[in-house]
């Protein structure tokens, strides 16, 4: 066989693969509908949809810059460029007002929009694909009963070749497993309900599972901790760094109030998650907690609690740091662990300062924990305007050394600059 034959054979094969691939990836347009069916909304279905939308944190990505719920346009940073969230209000032109339930279900399950275009997996359909028909219907009813907001979404800003949508079909071939969850009959109904919510609409793994180079969750490291918006989403599995092992009771309280006496406050992106879970039913939060608590003991025996520290002696820090800690921090974070009105704990119980990187500790010191308007919760003033970068760096190193036996962080300077660039 001559070289010419080999080359033309290879080209032929390539053409066949590309055409075949495009055919395989091709999805039909689903016809427009004139108006969503919300004329006669069943109140119970609507409420169910509202709870599921809260559990799914839909509005956290789909909120408009104006604050209009579900109207889209929020910029989602990814390693491949910026993606702008869709308008999922029932506006017929810029939202999903002309989408039938079938089109909505296909988007949730297959990551394809009504016109048959591939949706990027920043929309976590790899999780939503596990949702039941009933739950997807309830979400559809809830979303299409929202006020329609005309809000055109800017085009995504992605680098080549990621700006070519059909390549998402290849991503799906590798990483999207479209299947409902089969109940595990060796486990309780509550655990199974929790697994359904956590693995499905809750998409907890989207932040708490590390991602591979193509942005897909590494299934063999599920819940070993990930990254989101500069924050570290801590491990939920046996690699948890919590000083006190989490129980289902503790998680229930933490998830529904944003705070627990032995773990402290939700911060960063987790604040919104716990705020949203106030809208969920107590049973669903309890189920989520039961499943999450099981992750930490699934792959080994439960960890012993780390004995609380009254503070290691700290050498090699500028002398002012101990004074800054005493004057700025210790009034609330005291070693007696008296919990005052700010709900601050002794830092010996803090997970953030036990994590492998300083990202979360640095961000909390800089921006504090904002007070919530709607419910009593933990509060910490922002120290970004009070302390200099140098002081924040020394203070971060100081609390790590004083309240953990972990090795010193080496990323503090970088994290402070990164957080400052992002506006803290």
């Amino acid at each position: 066989m001559s070289l010419r034959h080999i080359i033309s054979g290879a080209v032929g094969l390539f053409v066949v693969v590309v055409i075949g691939g495009l055919f395989w990836a091709w999805r039909p347009t689903i016809p427009l509908i004139s108006a969503p069916l919300n004329a006669a909304v069943d109140e119970r279905v609507f409420r169910r949809g509202a709870e599921l939308a809260a559990i799914g944190n839909c509005n956290n990505c789909h909120v408009a810059n104006s604050g209009a719920p579900y109207a889209g346009g929020t910029s989602i940073p990814t390693p491949f460029g910026k993606i702008f969230s869709s308008n999922i209000t029932p506006d017929a032109v810029t939202g999903i007002g002309a989408w039938s339930e079938a089109a909505f279900r296909r988007a949730m399950r297959d990551g394809v929009d009504r016109e048959g275009r591939e949706l990027y997996p920043a929309f976590p359909y790899d999780h939503f694909t596990k949702a039941t028909d009933d739950d997807i219907y309830a979400l559809y009813v809830y979303l299409t009963a929202q006020p329609a907001v005309h809000n055109p979404i800017p085009p995504n800003d992605l680098a080549f070749p990621f700006n070519f949508r059909p390549i998402v079909a290849g991503w799906k071939l590798l990483f999207l497993r479209e299947a409902r969850l089969e109940p595990d009959n060796s486990k309780s109904a509550e655990w199974n309900r929790g697994r359904y919510l956590v693995e499905g609409l809750g998409h907890c793994g989207a932040c708490h599972t590390p991602r591979n180079i193509l942005g897909a969750e590494k299934k063999d490291s599920a819940y070993s901790g990930g990254a989101v918006g500069g924050w570290h989403a801590p491990p939920l599995n046996a690699y948890t760094v919590a000083a006190e092992p989490w129980t289902a009771d503790q998680l229930t309280e933490y998830l529904s109030t944003g705070w627990h006496r032995l773990h402290g406050a939700a911060a960063g992106p987790m604040t919104d998650v716990t705020r949203n879970l106030r809208q969920a039913s107590a049973e669903d939060v309890r189920a989520i907690a039961t499943y999450i608590a099981s992750l930490a003991s699934a792959s080994g025996k439960p960890r012993e609690a780390v004995p609380p520290k009254q503070g290691n002696p700290v050498a090699n820090v500028p002398s002012e740091v101990a004074d800054i800690y005493a004057g700025a921090c210790a009034n609330c974070h005291n070693d007696r662990n008296d919990v005052g009105p700010s709900k601050a704990l002794s830092l010996s119980l803090s997970s953030a300062i036990r994590q492998t990187g300083s990202a979360n500790t640095v961000r909390v010191i800089l921006a504090g924990i904002p007070a919530l308007a709607e419910a009593p919760a933990a509060y910490m003033p922002a120290f970004g305007g009070i302390l200099t970068d140098q002081q924040i760096e020394s203070l971060t190193a100081y609390v790590r050394a004083r309240y953990t036996d972990e090795p010193p962080w080496t990323d503090i300077h970088r994290e402070v600059s990164k957080a400052r660039q992002n506006g803290s």
């Binding site: 002012e320 101990a322 004074d323 800054i324 800690y325 005493a326 004057g327 700025a328 009034n331 609330c332 005052g340 009105p341 700010s342 007070a371 509060y379 910490m380 003033p381 120290f383 305007g385 009070i386 302390l387 200099t388 002081q391």
Partner: protein, 150 residues
């Protein structure tokens, strides 16, 4: 231990533990009673002063952290011993009920007007959020800030 502080344009050597929050030094050592002790936790804003022009809770600011940065209190806003434009606007609008929060309110509002001379209502509300008023004179405080911004 003595620590040098620049307060209202004057240098002071204060003799205090370096971990002492600035608020106590201002009130107890320098007799500047504008800033108030409210919560001591950085929650209420009654202790607000300026550090290099930025509104800062003085109750969670240890003097060891200040260095050469310039502190201004309510007293430091006076012009020739008289209330400045914003302070006068608070008086004209009778923005104080019990008055405990007002020093902090004036300081935060002054910091806002420095960067945003003509704030919208929304900008005022957002910026003033860290400062609480138990009496509920927020409407009058809003009017005072807008009066000073004209």
């Amino acid at each position: 231990m003595t620590i040098a502080l620049n307060v209202n344009g004057a240098s002071h050597e204060v003799n205090a533990d370096p971990s002492t929050p600035l608020l106590y030094v201002l009130r107890n050592e320098l007799a500047l009673h504008g800033p108030k002790f409210g919560c001591g936790l950085g929650q209420c804003g009654a202790c607000t002063v300026h550090m290099d022009g930025r509104a800062t809770f003085s109750c969670v600011l240890p003097i060891a952290a200040i260095g050469s940065r310039k502190i201004t209190t309510l007293e430091g806003l006076l012009e020739d011993g008289k209330p400045n434009k914003l302070q006068q606007a608070f008086i004209d609008e009778q923005a104080a009920q019990c008055g405990y929060c007002i020093s902090g309110m004036v300081m935060r509002a002054q910091a806002l007007l420095r960067v945003t001379p003509h704030p919208t209502d929304e900008e005022i509300k957002n910026y003033m959020r860290p400062n609480l008023c138990r009496c509920g004179t927020h409407a009058a405080i809003m009017r005072a800030i807008k009066r000073a911004a004209v």
